[in-house]
């Protein structure tokens, strides 16, 4: 009974307080965001004195960092344990991390932070994203467990704090359009995704002792009900305007900060507590609630003495705080249970927590403890119901199945729902005795609003503000209560019940006290001035609008104004208009897009798959043919061991050193350059998988597979990050990526095939490709492949060739033995060739080009010929035939098969050449000879037109080279074959 009255008193305040807190954070964040955009200079300063001095490293540890932005009065405080955004190469997607420690050097010039990284979706390689098995949520981040990233960052790269929520594995992502809340479900260690415990996300890397000073030191308050409002906020955090943190993390977050605060106090008192270490240690193992309680316990103990007692953890010695703690823990547990049951995001429950009791306790003082379980979702209806109905609804509240839909609703921070919420809260808060507080606040807020922006749009939003303010207030007033609610969860329930009555009494007292006088000063301290709040929220809204405007350029001013006009003062109608505007907004989007259809952005290019499976090779010859196809990847690459080793060690050393470099590989076509590099990469990737070397990123571009040298940038960027950009933009982005110090960068190995195709007149593409690896922070290894050995000297200007460096490698054409070995290894004991036949092929190819592809193709053709002749084994004759087919020039056959007149013309050409002593004659001259020859041969002389036609036919086959045919008889004629060949071919006739 007492208990419920207590709730009746403080819960709304709790809520309100949390609002205020969030509001403040929000405001800061938005301010920061706003100013980052404008690229305003930020000033980073340590807050407070260094906490500790590390003699070895000569570093000072600090508790918090304040970021001040030029031209903005407020500062942002970064505490250890907070989630932050860190400047990265992508402006829109800065890195996410959690501060572990903050420290600086003696001079104070360098400010560093040790962080625990989170990986964004865009940072995970596209290929690995498939492992996820689902579409990643745009706001999703992964707890990063890779080893390759430097966890020490420059503190000045910190942008602002950010909200990170942990979600359970199966839980759906909240349907949120809020860009500022990120969700963690899984961890990513650069190979696999794993489920991550919320405790890990929130507290595995808890700040080391004494990392953050209390942001709001209030020495005047009595120590026993520890006053840390943030720690008190947990239950009430749910309904915050946007970027709602999940209750669990937030609670723990607060708890941890409370703990930290306390620790500092103890530190200053000169007592390093071992218990702390213990609790810290336990946090990593315990479930979320456990660790929470542990921290609360710490924070609740205000004096070392009490603390010591607490550590004993015995039920007999439990203090009042302990008990409350325990009760809350139970509550938490049950919340969690409910969560699990409903599989809805945890945050949903935090609100009912605080709210329902509020309503219920008005009329139903005897409600049992379980009431606290009531899912948030009944917020309104139950709220009103319980107001009228003294006892009834408990069962309904307890029914977890009720919660999912509504909780889902609550997750979404879509404006309408927020409005609903707020409206409800407004009504709710009006029923509380503190109603009087609302009015002045509302006045204040509206005034501030008007001052800031006179537009009507803002007016529409006014109703929100008082509600928020009121909620914030609640939170505030409640805050002293909270620490008392912290109990070691492990404490036995019986004991809790034993002492419950005592607690209730005390709580009651406390509450009464609060009711009478607690708003004033605390509020002032805790909440930034209302005006400021107001304006900042407006800013935020404006920015929101701007963003939306940016998103959909087509949104017209007219629509905006209509929307503004529609905004009335009643929250309900406002919500409606909001809904309608949203729908309106979407429609023009759709209308505009179909105008010029473009390539579907995410079209998945693919060749349709066949209905019938491809047949497998049936006999030995077919098997051999399949194995001999160039495309079939061999188990190993024989005959390139040395080259393999060289490239491997080069790339491996660069990867493990985290440096960059260039290598130039040359060789005639078909000598296995690309294949060797691919093989090296396969091996390295395997090595990276078994953690022999740090993970790296392998991307490949081919000069022949792009339409323009500048497309190289586009392709690199796309393969690196999945972004699409124009060539210029891509170049800029890559430039930034490779020149800026980004702490958590994997080495990138870039293979540039057919390098000579990237030549441009200014050679800027090549220049950039070779210049990036030399940058300090690039961690880029570039392997280039081309055919000519002296390409750098021939086509590159000095500054490019110099950057390419002298790490070169040349692939020699295969010798016949090597070719033979290659075929043997491919055949892999499939007995299809006679040994002599193989040797013949390899010798022939080695003598001509040393091209392995050619060798394989000939063998393949030989198997076909063999199959036709129905022999079992490919013998010499088959190979000879294949060789003849592929190597013999068709000219002689073509001349032999030519018609009589064509042959005569060729003869005439040679005769004329001999007569002239030149290798060129006009058709007229040749024609005279031709007619003479016709007479000699006893044929009817041909006419000029016919002669020209004959000549053209020979020209089309390129036996003759001709000038354009419009020159008629004047066109000059040349032979494309040697005279000897022609005479040889004609001799037999």
């Amino acid at each position: 009974m007492i208990f419920s009255t207590r709730y009746c008193g403080f819960v709304p305040w709790m809520l309100f307080a949390s609002f205020t807190v969030l509001f403040a954070i929000e405001e800061k964040r938005n301010a920061m965001k706003y100013f980052t955009r404008l690229r305003v200079r930020r000033v980073y300063t340590w807050r407070g004195k260094p906490l500790r001095f590390n003699r070895k490293l000569k570093t000072f540890e600090y508790g918090s960092l304040s970021i001040k932005v030029d031209g903005l009065p407020r500062t942002t405080i970064i505490n250890a344990g907070q989630h932050i955004l860190i400047e990265g190469e992508d402006e829109d997607n800065p890195y996410v991390a959690k501060v572990v420690r903050l420290f600086g050097d003696e001079s104070g010039k360098q400010k560093k932070a040790v962080v625990q990284w989170f990986a964004r979706v865009s940072e995970v390689p596209l290929s690995k994203l498939k492992l996820l098995g689902r579409e990643p949520h745009p706001q999703e981040i992964f707890y990063y467990q890779g080893r390759s990233c430097d966890d020490e960052v420059n503190a000045e790269s910190i942008l602002r704090p950010v909200q990170v929520k942990h979600l359970d594995g199966p839980a759906p992502f909240p349907d949120s359009d809020d860009k500022d809340t990120l969700f963690v479900k899984l961890s990513w260690d650069s190979k696999t995704f794993k489920l991550v415990e919320s405790a890990v996300v929130e507290s595995a890397s808890e700040p080391t002792p004494a990392s953050s000073p209390p942001p709001f030191p209030k020495p005047s308050l009595p120590p026993s009900p520890p006053r840390s409002p943030p720690a008190a906020a947990p239950a009430s955090r749910g309904p915050s305007r946007r970027a709602l943190p999940t209750p669990d993390p937030s609670i723990m977050h607060r708890a941890s900060s409370g703990e930290v605060r306390y620790r500092r106090a103890t530190m200053s008192a000169g007592k390093a507590s071992t218990a702390e270490a213990e609790s810290l240690h336990s946090t990593s193992k315990l479930s979320a609630s456990k660790c929470l309680s542990a921290k609360r316990r710490c924070s609740s103990a205000s004096t070392p003495g009490v603390r010591k007692k607490l550590q004993l953890n015995s039920p007999e010695k439990m203090t009042r705080e302990d008990l409350v703690d325990h009760l809350l823990d139970e509550e938490l547990e049950s919340v969690m249970l409910a969560q699990r049951l409903s599989s809805s995001p945890p945050q949903a429950h935090s609100l009912p927590h605080s709210l329902t009791p509020l309503s219920k306790t008005h009329r139903a003082p005897s409600t049992p403890l379980t009431h606290r379980l009531v899912p948030l979702t009944h917020r309104l209806t139950p709220f009103r119901k319980t107001l009228g109905d003294p006892s009834g609804e408990d069962a309904a509240h307890l029914n977890p199945s009720d919660s999912p839909p509504s909780s889902a609703r609550e997750d979404s921070t879509s404006p309408q729902q927020r409005d609903v919420m707020e409206a409800e809260f407004l009504t709710g808060s009006l029923k509380t005795p503190r109603r009087r507080n609302d009015t002045p606040k509302r006045d204040l807020s509206t005034r501030g609003q008007k001052a800031a922006t006179p537009s009507r749009k803002k007016e529409a939003k006014t109703p929100r503000e008082p509600a928020l303010a009121a909620l914030a207030e609640v939170d505030n007033e409640n805050s002293p209560m909270l620490p008392s609610a912290v109990t070691p969860r492990s404490s036995k329930r019986k004991s809790a019940q034993l002492v419950s009555s005592r607690i209730r009494k005390q709580l009651n007292l406390l509450e009464n006290h609060q009711l009478s006088d607690s708003d004033g000063e605390e509020e002032d301290e805790f909440v930034p001035s209302k005006k400021e709040l107001q304006s900042s929220s407006e800013e935020e809204e404006e920015e929101e609008e701007e963003e939306e405007g940016l998103d959909s350029d087509e949104e017209t001013v007219g629509k905006r104004s209509r929307r503004n006009a529609a905004g009335s003062l009643t929250p309900r109608s406002k919500r409606k208009t909001h809904v309608s505007t949203r729908t309106q907004r979407k429609t023009p989007n759709k209308k505009i897009t179909p105008g010029t259809p473009r390539t579907p952005r995410h079209a998945t290019p693919s060749i349709p798959s066949r209905s019938l499976p491809a047949r497998c090779p049936g006999n030995v010859l077919e098997e051999a043919r399949a194995r001999l196809h160039v495309s079939s990847v061999p188990e190993s690459l024989p005959c390139r061991e040395q080259e393999f080793q060289d490239i491997y060690s080069f790339v491996e050393s660069k990867i493990s050193d985290g440096t960059g470099g260039c290598m130039y590989i040359s060789g005639v076509p078909g000598t296995g350059k690309t294949a060797t590099v691919h093989e090296v990469m396969r091996c390295l990737q395997h090595a990276a998988e078994v953690d022999e070397i740090p993970p790296f990123h392998f991307i490949e571009i081919n000069g022949m597979k792009m339409t323009d040298p500048h497309q190289a940038y586009v392709q690199i960027l796309q393969k690196l990050t999945g972004q699409k950009a124009t060539a210029d933009h891509a170049a800029a982005l890559l430039e930034r990526r490779f020149s800026n110090p980004a702490p958590r960068k994997e080495t990138t190995v870039l293979l540039v095939d057919e390098l000579d195709l990237l030549w441009t007149r200014k050679q800027n593409v090549m220049y950039n490709l070779f210049d990036w690896p030399t940058r300090r922070h690039a961690r880029l290894v570039v392997l280039t492949i081309a055919n000519t050995m002296d390409l750098p000297e021939r086509i590159m200007i000095n500054r490019v060739a110099s950057r390419l460096g002298l790490t070169r490698m040349s692939f020699q054409p295969y010798s016949f033995k090597q070719l033979q070995q290659i075929i043997m290894s491919r055949l892999n004991k499939v007995k299809a060739f006679e040994q002599d036949a193989l040797q013949l092929v390899s010798r022939k190819v080695a003598a001509l080009s040393g091209d392995a592809r050619r060798c394989l193709d000939i063998c393949r053709r030989a198997t076909e010929i063999c199959e036709l002749s129905a022999a079992a084994l490919v013998g010499m004759s088959h190979v000879m035939e294949a060789l003849n087919e592929m190597f013999s020039s068709a000219y002689i056959t073509a001349i032999k098969c030519a018609s009589v007149q064509e042959q005569l013309l060729l003869r005439a050409v040679i005769t004329e050449f001999r007569r002239l002593g030149l290798e060129e004659a006009t058709f007229q001259q040749v024609f005279v000879q031709h007619q003479a020859l016709c007479r000699v041969e006893g044929l009817q002389p041909v006419g000029v037109s016919e002669g020209l036609a004959v000549c053209q036919r020979l020209g089309a086959c390129r036996l003759l080279l001709l000038e354009p045919s419009r020159l008629g008889v004047l066109q000059r004629v040349r032979l494309n074959v040697s005279q000897d060949d022609v005479l040889y071919a004609l001799k037999d006739d």
């Binding site: 259809p597 473009r598 390539t599 579907p600 079209a603 998945t604 290019p605 693919s606 060749i607 798959s609 019938l612 491809a614 497998c616 399949a626 196809h629 160039v630 495309s631 079939s632 990847v633 005639v668 076509p669 078909g670 022949m704 597979k705 792009m706 339409t707 323009d708 497309q711 586009v714 592809r853 193709d857 393949r860 053709r861 036709l868 020039s889 068709a890 000219y891 056959t893 073509a894 032999k896 098969c897 018609s899 009589v900 007149q901 007229q924 024609f927 007619q931 009817q940 041909v942 006419g943 000029v944 037109s945 036609a949 036919r953 089309a956 390129r958 036996l959 419009r966 020159l967 004047l970």
Partner: protein, 476 residues
Amino acid sequence: MNMYPQRKYCLLKPISARRLFNTGSRHRWLSRIPAKTQTSHIMSKRKLQDAHLPVGECITEVQKILRERLCHQRLPDKPEGVEAQHRHLLELLKRTAIHGESNSVLIVGPRGAGKTMLLRCVLRDLLEDKEAQKSLLQVHLNGLLQTDDRIALKEITRQLHLENVVGDKVFGSFAENLGFLLEALKKGDRSSSRPVLFILDEFDLFAHHKNQTLLYNLLDVSQSAQAPICVVGITCRLDVLELLEKRVKSRFSHRQIHLLSSATLAQYVERVQTQLSVPEDFPDTKFAQEWNDSIKVLCEDKSVEEVLQRHYNSSRDYRSMHMLLMLCLSRVSVARPAITPADLLEASRLCFADAKANMLHGLSILELCLIIAMKHLNDLYEGEPFNLQMIHNEFKKFLQRKSNSMYNFEQPVIMKAFEHLQQLELIRPVDGSSAKTQREYQLMRLMLDHSQIMDALQKYPQCPTEVKQWAMSAFG
């Protein structure tokens, strides 16, 4: 998709073309017997077995069948003389279609040798296999139509019905399209994706595209473990491989199927006979029998053999033969219901007619005189170029000698005649001479052979004797 682009390189001469498409005789004949045909149609249906169609009907049918055959609208049941190549290509395409093996092959042969016909026959035979028919995708490109890679890529994307195609339009930039296509091909693998057959007609022209990007990529796909494709190039250039860049060449499998006909005269005559014969399922068996007999007799005729020998000596390809036979066929009518040796001779004469000599017949006496003057100048200066003034002088000398003033023309008239000759391209200015020089002094060359001029003079109607004599005299 199965569109075979018409070739641009029509070898038809202007005159023969006119004759070729002059189907007037048939139409005239049709209009002469209007009502009978209607009834005969019904009759033919009723008694198909002992059908005895009117002669007109039969001739229409014969002409229809033969025209389809000679204009390459119907494929022969079995390609003649290229059985080995047919088998090779069929095996190759079968392996792609059924086993998913990537390949590349070039079909090389002189113009009119039947390369496209061979491929079409192979495809027809291949698609009779249900399995192949279900899986094979075809892309037909022609170097004369897809003149650069950008267009070629769009065409490929369109024919493959990839996802960036809306209706018949392909969207996206060149780079996007290339990336898209490569991505699509890369995603496939040997066993699961449908094989794609790329047919590149006029393959040599693709080799002239910038960087040979398309060829490189297609051949690279055919040599790597991606979607199974078969690249079939058709070209008449024997040196096509020398056009390929060495890295492109290395990726080509070096399979070439050469279509070089080495038919003897007897085979040639036999081929003519089969081409002209009507099939056995002809509606009127009696007429068919008669027609085939007449064709047989025709081919045994001495004069016909001579004509065919001449054609055989000139060229052995199908297309020139078809042109000759087409000319014969168009002379067939009700009045002359069979091809006679005379028809063949006339057709042959048309085929071998000299285009330039025919043009000379239409010239005026003055223009002819100028041509003769040019011939003399050519003789005199051994083919050096000349200008109008020199020609005029030569012409004046002739006039003085003959002292006949009937050909005495003013300078402007001669200038006009000269310009007309230039328009007819019987003379053409020397390449280097600039347009700035006065027209009288612009250097020119004669584009006629002596034999052509003499021929024309012989046949020129009412040619004055002195002009003839002048032309034949050794020196002007």
